[in-house]
């Protein structure tokens, strides 16, 4: 049982313990959740520190036989990208627990589901066996369904079922892809598949078809136009903690999967179909940004901004140059932090004002100055102002995607995508203007500002955003081996 397994299963053990706690003991429930998310966070920080950046590759690998009959194994391990995402997930889970501290409706079940959610997301990031990967991928639906359907707001049942159906739709494609790979190469192991040359084998399905099976599976999660409409509904109606997990780390599974499987296993197909996918990325960025401008619900607005920001991930991934891949990876992490912060602070805002309609809010800066400041930080991150991680990520995507030599049409798409930054500025500035600035409204005179605990967890995210933004080396040097070896697939 290595550290990675401990990180992976700690939350689910916590969830089981919580189930055993008597329902009346809410305090103990919360502290259990607190401890069982804090420990994985600490451990993943430790792993992040001790990962050997020189040699790169998969480290902390663990292997055990699982289903020998079909050669499926319990095989986990992390490289720079997945380790960063593991760290992001454990951090956001920990923060989600803090965010939900005031939950009063069935807290036991809530925290248990939250912890199970953490394990399933972590499982996706650490699995090196496709079957294991798929199982974690699908398990994640269960806690998320309940979190949205029971603790959500608005049309929560609709949103929850929509989320589940969409992901299952994508998951079905992905399963077909996994089976196709299995019947081609006879293994589920990602590491072995990396070393397999599929063109020499009898293919169960044409490689391009398999590529798209996987792509659709991940595209639903990322989300890519036109599979994106589950996202605003789910994010909007989910409770704050679930929104943070959804936007912060769950949709990163899509980007991670594309990186690991679509690019890693199908370099030729990825290159061949890159223009098509880059066009989708541009649609995501511009179309998503434009729709964001039209939103009137503040949570929905942030949700739609994710669609736009995930377009940058897609752009970076399928420009296929080392720098653009780095940019995409950075964007995955940066967006997790920034949107996590935005959802957290919006959750506080909605909780304190009991209002989520942008037109009905207004002039809050005077009444809740600290909350405003935190929202401004999240906002500048989202519109990629220098100093924040958002800037580093997006500028790296642009530099990489424009200068790529692998996809010849990438520069054109990059130039169009630049308008995404303009749109981001437009919607963030407008939101700030309408919600926080302008004359204060007497309705909100007695709205509470953030509490100490809220300050602390928002502060943690703020620090992370600026740390990466000001000193990107923190995270780049762990990502470098991954993107460098990946870029070798297209000749560096």
């Amino acid at each position: 049982m290595g550290i990675l397994s401990i990180i992976l299963f700690m939350p689910v053990i916590g969830a089981l313990l919580i189930v055993l706690i008597p329902a009346s003991n809410v305090r103990l429930t919360k502290y259990t959740a607190f401890v069982f998310t804090l420990i994985p966070l600490m451990l993943s920080l430790y792993l992040f520190g001790s990962y050997d950046r020189m040699s790169g590759g998969f480290q902390f690998e663990e292997f055990a036989q699982w289903i020998p009959a079909i050669n499926a194994n319990y095989h986990i391990g992390v490289d720079g990208l997945s380790l960063s995402l593991v760290l992001l997930t454990t951090l956001l889970s920990f923060i989600s627990v803090l965010v939900s501290w005031k939950t009063s409706f069935r807290p036991r079940a809530f925290f248990a589901w939250l912890l199970l959610l953490e394990t399933s997301i972590l499982g996706v990031f650490v699995s090196l066996d496709l079957l294991l990967f798929f199982i974690f991928w699908e398990i994640e639906l269960i806690p998320m369904y309940f979190l949205i359907a029971l603790w959500g707001s608005g049309r929560r049942e609709y949103s929850a079922i929509k989320y589940v159906l969409y992901t299952l739709f994508g998951g079905a494609f992905m399963l077909a892809g996994i089976l196709s790979l299995y019947f081609t190469a006879g293994t589920f192991s990602v590491v072995e598949l990396y070393q397999t040359d599929f063109s020499l084998l009898a293919q169960a399905l044409p490689l391009a078809a398999t590529f798209f099976l996987f792509f659709i599976g991940f595209a639903v999660k990322l989300p890519v136009f036109p599979f994106h409409t589950w996202l605003p509904d789910a994010h909007t109606d989910a409770p704050t903690a679930a929104s943070i997990m959804l936007a912060g780390s769950l949709i990163k599974m899509g980007g991670y999967g594309m990186f690991r499987i679509c690019l890693g296993l199908f370099p030729d197909e990825a290159q061949h179909y890159a223009p098509l996918i880059l066009a989708l990325a541009v649609v995501n960025i511009v179309y998503g940004g434009a729709i964001t401008l039209k939103q009137t619900d503040i949570k929905r607005l942030i949700a739609y901004s994710s669609v736009s920001h995930m377009g940058f991930v897609l752009l970076g991934l399928f420009a296929l140059s080392e720098l653009s891949l780095l940019g995409a990876s950075l964007q995955l992490i940066s967006h997790g932090l920034i949107t996590g912060l935005l959802f957290a602070v919006t959750g506080i805002l909605i909780h304190n004002t009991h209002e989520r309609h942008i037109k009905k809010l207004g002039g809050l800066a005077r009444q809740v100055p600290v909350l405003t400041a935190i929202f401004v930080v999240g906002g500048v991150g989202a519109m990629a102002v220098p100093g924040t991680s958002g800037f580093i990520a997006e500028v790296t995507v642009f530099l990489g995607a424009f200068s790529t030599s692998v996809v010849s049409s990438a520069p054109v798409f990059t130039l169009i995508s630049l308008t995404g930054i303009l749109l981001a500025a437009a919607y963030i500035l407008t939101t700030l203007l309408k919600v926080f600035f302008g004359p204060p409204k007497p309705t909100f005179d007695h709205v509470h500002d953030v509490t100490l605990m809220e300050k602390i967890y928002c502060g943690v995210l703020v620090v992370c955003i600026f740390a990466i933004g000001l000193y990107p080396k923190l995270i780049i040097d762990i990502l470098e081996p991954v993107v460098a070896s990946m870029a070798l697939l297209w000749g560096g």
């Binding site: 200068s403 630049l418 930054i421 204060p440 080396k473």
Partner: protein
């Protein structure tokens, strides 16, 4: 030059940064001593200022370029290597002095102007951050770092324009300023990625040397420089991206003096100057720069003629003068443009401070409500007159010399633009003295009794007034130009008095005096009624006073109608009706087909038995047939 320790150069932007940090984290704990915020920021800026002066003198002495390689910041293998390093060349040194001096004076002035404000902390924190970013911008040796500082000054400007965020116009102006400059930044960023993809580096010096060696194709240079100029247009408020600057006057007046008159808006000019070695390779871009500059100068000047808000006049005047600088850059080169930037920074900051001082005592910016302030506010009056004369270009004020250079290079290259520039000069003199006469002479219409501002505000104004007179003499022996360009093109500028030997000087003086005289006749002596003029020339008057309807065009037609309720609305509808609609329709199809099919499931057991019976019958028939 090598006798300057590197650490001291790092301290120039570093000190304001430290001040920002202190203000953000430490000083805010002393809520009851809010004036400390000011002291901390002022001390930091003062130290930076001393260092800058020292650097400038060293540069003048040794005239060598100091490159500080700095440290790795964003590196990825051999793909990209962005270092945070510094360039200290004459251009930088001049900008350092301009930025630190104006910033210092503005901060001192603010102690008086912002007296009693609750948010001293926020104010000085952002001023410090702004100063740091502005210094970083002028010192950065890397396009990406420059872009970062560029955006941070934009963000500070956003925060400071919206300093009184509870006022709707201020908040709207802040958003507009940030957004419109971002449109320019779009071009800048595009240029950066274009340069990176074709040169593989972002280091300014390396780019310049590659361009000089002919390693970069002409088309790319043209597009890249056009992109950079687009960024400059946004920041320097050039037509057609100028609309944010007049609105930005909603911010506190010292902020307008610092950011929207002297430094940030001049950053665009600086950027063009910094990348000038690249611009030189593209005649197209240089012509564009000159033409845009000329158009902006005239265009903004015409609007300034009819504005009644003193800060709006100054704002349009700033736009006009920035256009002048661009014109100078496009036609004459770095020295010409930067020289005007240098002098303009002082006298325009001075004029804004004067306007602030007036507002501080009368509580309004509307000139129609002022008048007769000359006696009541003698210091403000005197310094304002000096500033106006300098701006109008009257010998021997600073403005005269720098304007002279631009006119000279325009005359030498482009007669059309020369006429344009001359017309602008006339208008400049006219509208400035319109302000002077409307504000300081005649009957006092202010409801409250105006009084002279406190010493803390007057002293910075006096200092700036001195600079507004003398800054031009710097170039009297060609010292300024010689600093920037080794082979000096304009050899005929030989001294403060020697300049008068040239006919051009007399032409421009004549034009400027004409403007002043006309203003005197209209607004002091009232020989010509302004009302009659405006009704006689009603067409231009309406156009000017509506600012050519450009705000309406942008906000109402492009922003609101075309994009917001047009395209974006279409997207939104498409998303909810088509994309989401299809999904929901599929779901509904399932539901409704289920509704039909479920009728079979009537709940009547006997019906089920009948179906069962049907099955049995079919099976028995099959069994019978099988025999």
């Amino acid at each position: 030059m090598s006798n300057i320790p590197e650490i001291l150069i790092w301290l120039i932007p570093g000190l304001p940064l430290v001040s920002f940090g202190l203000l953000l984290l430490v000083v805010r704990l002393f809520r009851n001593r809010s004036v400390w915020n000011g002291y901390v920021a002022i001390m930091a800026t003062a130290a930076s200022f001393c260092l800058s002066i020292w650097v400038l003198f060293n540069i003048i002495k040794s005239s060598e370029i100091l490159l500080i390689p700095g440290f790795d910041w964003l590196t990825l293998g051999n793909v990209i290597n962005v270092k945070i390093g510094l360039i200290v060349d004459p251009l930088t040194a001049i900008m350092l002095v301009v930025v630190t001096s104006v910033s210092l004076l503005v901060q001192i002035y603010s102690l008086g102007y912002m007296h009693g404000s609750k948010s001293f902390n926020r104010y000085y924190a952002f001023i410090s951050l702004f100063t740091m970013a502005m210094l970083g911008l002028v010192m950065a040796d890397n396009l990406l770092v420059m872009f970062m500082c560029w955006e941070i000054v934009g963000f500070c400007s956003y925060q400071l324009i919206g300093f009184w965020f509870h006022r709707q116009p201020a908040a709207r102006a802040a958003r507009k300023a940030f957004f419109i400059t971002r449109i320019g930044d779009f071009g800048f960023l595009a240029a950066i990625i274009l340069i990176f993809s074709s040169t593989g580096t972002l280091n300014v010096m390396e780019i310049h040397s590659m361009a000089a060696a002919g390693l970069v194709s002409g088309t790319i240079i043209t597009w890249a420089t056009l992109g950079i100029f687009m960024g400059a247009m946004g920041k320097s408020s050039q037509f057609p991206l100028h609309t944010w600057l007049p609105d930005a006057m909603e911010g506190p007046t010292p902020v307008s003096a610092l950011i929207h008159a002297a430094t940030m808006v001049a950053a665009g000019v600086f950027l063009v100057a910094r990348m000038y070695p690249l611009f030189e390779h593209s005649q197209t871009t240089l012509a564009t720069v000159a033409i845009i500059g000329g158009i902006t100068a005239l265009f903004a000047g015409t609007i300034a003629l009819v504005m009644n808000d003193i800060k709006k006049v100054l704002a349009y005047s700033t736009i006009s003068q920035l256009g002048y600088m661009m014109l100078g850059l496009g036609l004459g080169g770095v020295a010409v443009g930067i020289f005007h930037l240098f002098t303009h920074a002082f006298f325009k900051a001075l004029l804004f401070m004067g306007a602030g001082s007036i507002n501080h005592s009368t509580g309004t910016f509307d000139m129609r409500k002022m008048g007769g302030l000359a006696r009541l506010m003698p210091w403000t009056f005197a310094t304002f007159i000096i500033g106006s004369l300098s701006l109008a270009g009257i010998w021997p004020m600073a403005g005269f010399f720098s304007k002279e250079e631009i006119l000279a290079s325009a005359m030498a290259n482009q007669p059309v633009l020369f006429v344009l520039a001359l017309a602008t000069a006339f208008m400049t003199a006219f509208y400035m003295f319109r302000v002077v006469f409307m504000t300081f002479t005649g009957r006092c219409k202010s409801p409250v009794k105006p009084h002279e501002s406190g010493r803390i505000m007057v002293i910075p104004m006096v200092v700036l007034a001195v600079l507004a007179i003398c800054a031009g003499w710097f170039n009297a022996t060609g010292g300024f130009s010689g600093l920037l360009v080794s082979d000096k093109a304009h050899g005929w500028l030989y001294g403060i008095f020697g300049i008068l030997s040239h006919p051009l000087a007399w032409i421009s003086l004549l034009v400027a005096s004409g403007g002043i005289l006309l203003a005197w006749a209209m607004y002091y002596k009232r020989w010509i009624s302004p009302l009659k003029v405006s009704s006689r020339f009603w067409a231009p008057y309406v156009i000017f006073s509506h600012k050519y309807w450009i705000d309406e065009l942008y906000e109402k037609y492009i922003g609101q109608k075309l994009l917001n309720s047009g395209l974006f609305n279409l997207f939104n509808r498409f998303d909810s009706i088509v994309i989401d609609g299809v999904v929901n329709d599929i779901a509904n199809l399932n539901l409704s087909s289920g509704k039909i099919i479920r009728r079979v499931q009537s709940g009547n057991l006997q019906l089920y038995a009948l179906f069962f019976l049907l099955g049995v019958a079919v099976i028995s028939i099959l069994a019978m047939l099988a025999r």
